[in-house]
Amino acid sequence: MIHFKDVSFAYKEGKWAVRHINFTVNKGEFVSIIGGNGSGKSTIARLSDGLLLPQEGSVFVDEINSRAKKDEFFIKEKVGIVFQNPDNQFVGTTVEEDIAFGLENIGVERVEAKARIEQISSLLGIDKYLHGSPSYLSGGEKQKVAIASVLVMQPDYLVMDEITALLDPVSRKEVLNLVHSIAENKNIGVLYITHITEEVIKSDKVLVLHKGEKIKEGAPAVILQDMKLLRSAGVASLPSVIISEDLRKHGIISASFVDEEDLIGSLCSN
């Protein structure tokens, strides 16, 4: 379990980037954080694997406090992070070398490494680029490579910080579905950070972040119907909810719908 216990962090004294944050991510659980730019999402990502240490409160990964210096590597192995900008993450001259980099560092055998790389890259649809240079890839392709580099390490938790920002809509869905299915099948806990509302629909729970504070936590169906909450957090509402709310105000339908099909169903049945 990743456990944030009353966590506060400031880059500069007196200016909290995140404040009093509490939440947990269990293995196999898919937890989303949604919020506008500057709301503290990336700070939470960096706190979750000990890249940053909180000034107040504590972050635990499987009970280990991220402040425990001797367990630094334990936490880094348990928690794999993919950031929004893949360019900062490249080290190798070929894509394959790049993905292999982390594996070599932790001493995984060549044969095993190769097998993992092949499996994950075909899963992500990047096997055809393995022998090319990462610098020629487009942003989205690079991001898939970055995701593969983390997945081959077989972490227990994945923290994904706006990883689909550079992907086209179809690969975005592909990648998101993939992350969902990995979380389920491999029993990985996912902390999925995004500002795209549709992306949180299938989460187990959603945290809404605004100005460094968690302003709400709940099931996606509940959070997504709250247009006021989302607007104040600077994130978009779903078109289905915008339409429902407008119609509800005028007494045309009686409930608000997150699911498009449900909305259409209610409008096309009477």
Binding site: G36, N37, G38, Q84, G132, Y136, S138, G139, G140, E141, E162, A165, L166, L167, D168, P169, V170, S171, K173, H195, E198, G234, V235, A236, L238, P239, S240, I242, I243, D246, L247, H250, I252, E260, L263, I264, L267, C268
Partner: protein, 280 residues
């Protein structure tokens, strides 16, 4: 008017990395149009727009601006670049100046604009991008929020007053508030007569801003026409890896029941139609 005639671009020819980035592209962009360019990652969108001001030269075919071949020796490429301003992806990553003013003034200064005009050009461009107070000009561009940085970067191109403003994924990485603002200012540019061409993956953005769509697939132009016609070609859309936006999907489903529902660009256009319908 910008015209591409049977343009081909090949990267790394005669090597194993050879890629036919653009294949036989012809198109025309007329004054005052707003054109969205869509297609998968790697389909050639960024290559295409870099042809527009000569940053990339075609291996075959021609790029004409107001009927002149921009790659011919007689043409002053600086004049072309003044007329066709390109804002690249994540333009704020290229910031270098100490003040917003210097950042925005850099382009027009380089183009030989005189000091006297420069100030007006800079402030008018900043205003276009939603900075009404002149105080912003003396701040460091690095101190701005992500959304503000992006708008300053766009202002630095607008300051050259290009006829055609070309944007490569202008909203990438921005949040809802940032997108909402930027989309408003881009729409204003169009309203004020600027020709706007933008690359996007976001179909909501396309619906809201563009009149026309050019779709690329593996370097080929596979669609060129009105937004509404684009979204009614479901087979094509699926083939080129585009996701039908929720608004269009819902509208199409409603059409089976409400046969007179018009094409809708936003959720509120759908609910307005339904409200009218239920009033009767």
């Amino acid at each position: 008017m910008l015209e591409l005639k049977n343009v081909f671009v090949t990267y790394d020819p005669n090597t194993i990395f050879m890629s036919n980035a653009l294949v036989d592209i012809s198109l025309m962009i007329k004054k005052n149009e707003s054109v969205g360019i869509v297609g998968r990652i790697g389909s050639g969108k960024s290559t295409l727009i870099q042809l527009f001001n000569g940053l990339i030269k075609p291996d075959n075919g021609a790029v004409l601006l107001d009927n002149d071949d921009i790659n011919s020796k007689q043409i002053d490429i600086r004049k072309v670049r003044k007329k066709v301003g390109i804002v690249f992806q994540y333009p704020e990553e290229q910031f270098f100046a100490e003040t917003v003013f210097a950042e925005v003034a850099f382009g027009p200064k380089n183009m030989g604009m005189r000091e006297t005009e420069l100030k007006d050009a800079v402030f008018s461009a900043l205003k276009d991008m939603g900075f009404s107070s002149e105080k912003i000009a003396q701040r460091s561009p690095f101190s701005l929020s992500g959304g503000e940085k992006r708008r300053v970067a766009i202002a630095s191109i607008i300051a050259m007053n290009p006829d055609i403003l070309v944007l490569d994924e202008p909203m990438a990485g921005m949040d809802f508030n940032g997108k909402e603002k930027l989309s408003k200012y881009i729409k204003n540019e169009i309203k004020n007569g600027r020709t706007v061409v933008f690359v996007t993956h976001n179909m909501e953005e396309l619906l809201e801003i563009a009149d026309r769509v050019i779709a690329l697939d593996e370097g080929k132009k596979v669609f060129d026409g009105r937004v509404r016609d684009f979204f009614s070609d479901e087979k094509l859309i699926e083939k080129i890896g585009i996701d039908i936006p929720s608004v269009v999907r819902m509208r199409n489903k409603l059409k089976k029941y409400y046969s007179d529902i018009p094409f809708c660009r936003t959720p509120l256009e759908i609910s307005s139609y339904l409200k009218k319908r239920y009033r009767h």
